[in-house]
């Protein structure tokens, strides 16, 4: 829990800074894939490993997964239908049979219509979510953060010794 909270604070800090736009966008996009997947399967681990190995904002990924998990059920009928279309394709039958009987691959639960539908759709939408998030972060920084930083309240707060002390602490640690 502490680790997660730390990640969320880091995310807020990064969101309000001037860097890490791509990291936030990638985190949200990966969180989108995690959130849309029903249950826990091999691709969930794969996405988590990606988030772990690449410098993706973990807090953004966690928050995004949490958010999309809550609304994913609304799209379940769509995922189910889309998954069935793919799994019923005659042209894919031999490939799916081959994959079904491969080692490890069945742990992805690709043979489930909702998993297949949500997996394919979320991967297809990944670049779109990434770009959209990136654009929104930039707009946020430009329109909201810059304005807040111009306010007298913010400047007064920045001049306090407590803030100075915090900035120093943050820089050192």
């Amino acid at each position: 829990m502490t680790l997660m909270l730390k990640q969320i604070f880091a995310f807020i800090k990064l969101l309000n800074s001037e860097t890490g736009t791509n990291q936030i966008a990638a985190g949200v996009a990966l969180g989108f894939i995690l959130g849309m997947a029903p249950g826990f399967s091999l691709q969930t681990i794969l996405v988590l490993l990606l988030a772990l190995f690449f410098r993706v904002q973990f807090g953004a990924a966690g928050l995004s997964a949490f958010f999309f998990k809550f609304i994913a059920w609304l799209f379940d009928p769509l995922f189910d239908r889309f998954g069935r279309v793919i799994l019923d394709m005659d042209s894919l039958h031999s490939t799916l049979t081959w994959a079904y009987n491969l080692p490890i691959v069945p742990f992805t639960k690709f043979y489930n219509s909702v998993v297949m539908g949500s997996g394919v759709l979320s991967i297809l939408l990944f670049p779109l979510v990434f770009l959209l998030t990136r654009m929104l972060v930039l707009k946020y920084r430009e329109l909201i953060v810059a304005k807040i930083k111009d306010t007298k309240l913010w400047k007064a707060l920045k001049a306090t010794s407590l803030f100075q002390w915090y900035e120093k602490y943050d820089r050192l640690y």
Partner: protein, 668 residues
């Protein structure tokens, strides 16, 4: 992780007066989080070390703890060794304490070893290349008494039958229960009663119940009374002779008109009336015939009385236990319970095999389609598709099972045996494996003096028509005190013998075919009767039967099994007892027949007499009515003839007189 995502620390401005130092400018971090490698390596190493040094010991403790809780007494595991890379484990020295007798083990297994294929595990399937259970023994002594857990009070829901108990209960099908009643284990008791000869009178007690034939006679009597009234009314309704007499009288009394034309018209009217009456005669005759045939119809009912009496006689024979000396029945009565016990237990295991090792549920074509096409399986959200192919791994597959048990050398009695067994291709999805599941076990039970035991079970659940074949052969087994027939009069059985047995059972599409061949040699019989005569007769008969053969077959469905027994014991007993018993059985039957005749005879006589009386009365009434009407008709006919004659005769005379007058006038 968190730091890496922060902005790089800003470098504070240095005063110009101070000498310039070479500053290391921190490069912005790359896209790969290198810092995560070390923690992951540490976690991986820790996991490896745990599984290398602690996992086996922890699992062994967990098994002992859980086993003790389940068994209610101490369970020991001497050693447990698992291999992650090898995909196998080996458990040695499993001892399950008998909670009733803590100084012995209820079960002891020297080794349990299994090796799973990684190839299967990576596909989420449990393919066990070799599964061995070696050194099984029962009731073996423990080095030190095992700890017994205090008994907890039973909860109400614990009283519910277990799954196995429920299955065993269901296995006692209606058909088997019926058969158990049929083979009541009292085959010689009734024979003994007759053999004694003293109390047949008591056995053939008075027939107090109402018999079927008796009921039928009573109903026939009622029917006869009702019909008698109906017939009499019909006879009454028939036309009488009065109408004929009135017509005859009318013809006689009527004077014909002098005018020939009028006279002819009158005669024509008379003839018409007569013809109408002739039709009435026909009606009377037809009515009479109808009544006669209706009466005759009842005669067939009298024949039915004979059939019912015959049936009553048979029923009474069964009820009064007048025995049959039919060899098949005798063999069935003697050995039925013995065979049934074996079949009942095999049904339980066949049911279990069908439940846990399911055969193909559809026809061959459907099975092919199932393999060729994905089959959706509905679930709470989404649908799971299957893409199986022949030769793929099923969920669980025990390719090879080895079982062995050892009995102590000095074992006496009990069920400990030197057994070796092998099983192949036990799986949850036999269609995918495409091979039969075969289990063979062979060995000896020296303590119980049972030798050359061979058991083979072949579960062909991979075929389009699933089936099971089971065979068991025992080369030598002892029989002690096996009672074949027990009643108050006689206890009969085998006191001691050595047996050889072969049992084969085939089960396919709910059809069962079971055959059992037994040979009992060196037989010492058990004959116990209060009556010395019975003992002597049977003992002398049995001295000539040193070997017993028993062949039994059962075929049909579990709901309806047809049995066929043959045994030389049945044949020999039947032929031997026939000499002694035939006369007595015949006498008993005759006595029963007399009793039946005494009960039914008078009633039958009464009904027959009543019928004869009614028939004769009706015949007489119909005859008289026909006779009378015939006489009246003749009378009317005569009157009509006279009238016609008188009319035609007058005309002729008149004609002749006129002709004569004319001849005279013209002097011819």
């Amino acid at each position: 992780m968190t730091d890496s995502t922060n902005t790089p620390p800003e470098v504070p401005p240095m005063p110009d007066s101070e000498p310039k130092k070479v500053q290391k400018v921190k490069r912005p971090p790359g896209p790969i989080r290198t810092g995560v490698v070390v923690p992951l390596l540490i976690i991986g190493l820790g996991t490896f070390l745990y599984f290398k040094f602690l996992f086996d010991a922890n699992l062994r403790w967990a098994m002992e703890f859980a086993g003790t809780k389940i068994n209610g007494a101490q369970v020991d595991v001497a050693d447990f060794h698992s291999s992650f890379l090898g995909g196998g484990f080996e458990l040695t020295g499993l001892q399950v304490t008998d909670k009733e007798n803590p100084s012995t083990n209820i079960l002891e297994i020297k080794t349990i070893a299994a090796k799973l294929l990684w190839d299967g595990l990576l596909r989420g399937k449990f393919v066990i290349d070799n599964f061995a259970i070696k050194g099984i023994s029962w009731q073996s002594p423990r080095k030190s008494p095992g700890k017994v857990l205090p008994v907890e009070p039973e909860k109400p829901e614990d009283n519910k039958p277990s799954a196995a108990g429920k299955l065993a209960g269901e296995a006692k099908s209606v058909a088997l229960e019926e058969a158990q009643k049929e083979f009541k284990g009292n085959a010689l008791g009734d024979l003994a009663a007759i053999l004694e000869g003293g109390d047949t009178k008591a056995q053939l007690e008075e027939i107090r119940d109402t018999l079927e034939s008796e009921k039928f006679i009573e109903s026939l009597e009622q029917e006869l009374t009702t019909k008698q009234k109906m017939w009499e009314e019909k006879i009454k309704a028939l036309p009488t002779k009065d109408e004929f007499e009135q017509t005859a009288q009318k013809i006689k009394e009527t004077k014909l008109d002098s005018n020939p034309l009028q006279a002819a018209k009158q005669l024509k009217d008379f003839k018409d009336d007569f013809n109408k009456l002739t039709l009435t005669v026909k009606t009377v005759k037809e009515g009479g015939k109808e009544i006669s045939s209706s009466v005759k119809m009842l005669e067939s009912s009298f024949k039915k009385i004979d059939d019912l009496i015959e049936q009553d006689l048979k029923n009474l024979q069964t009820r009064f236990k007048i025995p049959s000396l039919d060899t098949k029945n005798l063999a069935q009565g003697l050995f039925g319970p013995f065979v049934l016990a074996k079949l009942g237990s095999s049904k339980k295991y066949l049911d279990m095999a069908r439940e846990y090792l399911p055969p193909k549920k559809t026809a061959a074509e459907k099975a092919k389609d199932e393999l060729a096409k994905p089959k959706p399986r509905p679930r709470a959200s989404g649908v799971d598709y299957r893409f199986p192919k022949k030769g793929a791994y099923p969920l669980v597959w025990l390719k090879n099972i080895e079982i062995s048990s050892e009995a102590p050398k000095d074992v006496q009695g009990g069920t400990q045996g030197n057994l070796k067994g092998q099983g192949t291709n036990f799986t949850t999805d036999p269609q995918v494996v495409g091979k039969p599941m075969i289990l063979t076990v062979g060995g000896n039970f020296p303590g119980a003096k049972i030798y050359d035991v061979n058991f083979t079970a072949s579960l062909n659940h991979h075929l389009p028509t699933p089936g099971e074949e089971v065979s068991l052969s025992v080369g030598n087994y002892p029989i002690d005190q096996h009672v074949l027939s027990k009643s108050k009069k006689l206890k009969f059985g085998i006191a001691k013998a050595k047996g050889v047995m072969n049992v084969n059972l085939k089960h396919s599409e709910e059809m069962i075919l079971m055959s059992m061949n037994n040979r009992f040699r060196e037989v010492e019989y058990l004959v116990e009767s209060q009556n010395k005569k019975v003992t002597e007769i049977l003992s002398s008969l049995l001295r000539g039967i040193p070997l017993i053969t028993l062949d039994a077959t059962a075929r049909g469905t579990w709901a309806s099994l047809s049995w066929d027994f043959s045994s030389n014991l049945g044949d020999e007993l039947a032929s031997g007892l026939k000499r002694e018993l035939n006369e007595r059985v015949a006498a008993a039957k005759e006595q029963l027949k007399k009793k039946l005749d005494a009960k039914i005879g008078p009633k039958r006589k009464m009904i027959e007499e009543k019928y004869a009386k009614i028939k004769s009365k009706l015949d007489s009434l119909v005859g008289e009515r026909e006779k009378d009407i015939e006489a009246a008709k003749n009378k009317a006919q005569a009157a009509l003839d006279d009238k016609v004659k008188s009319n035609t005769g007058g005309a002729e005379d008149k004609g002749k007189a006129v002709l004569k007058g004319l001849k005279k006038k013209f002097k011819l």
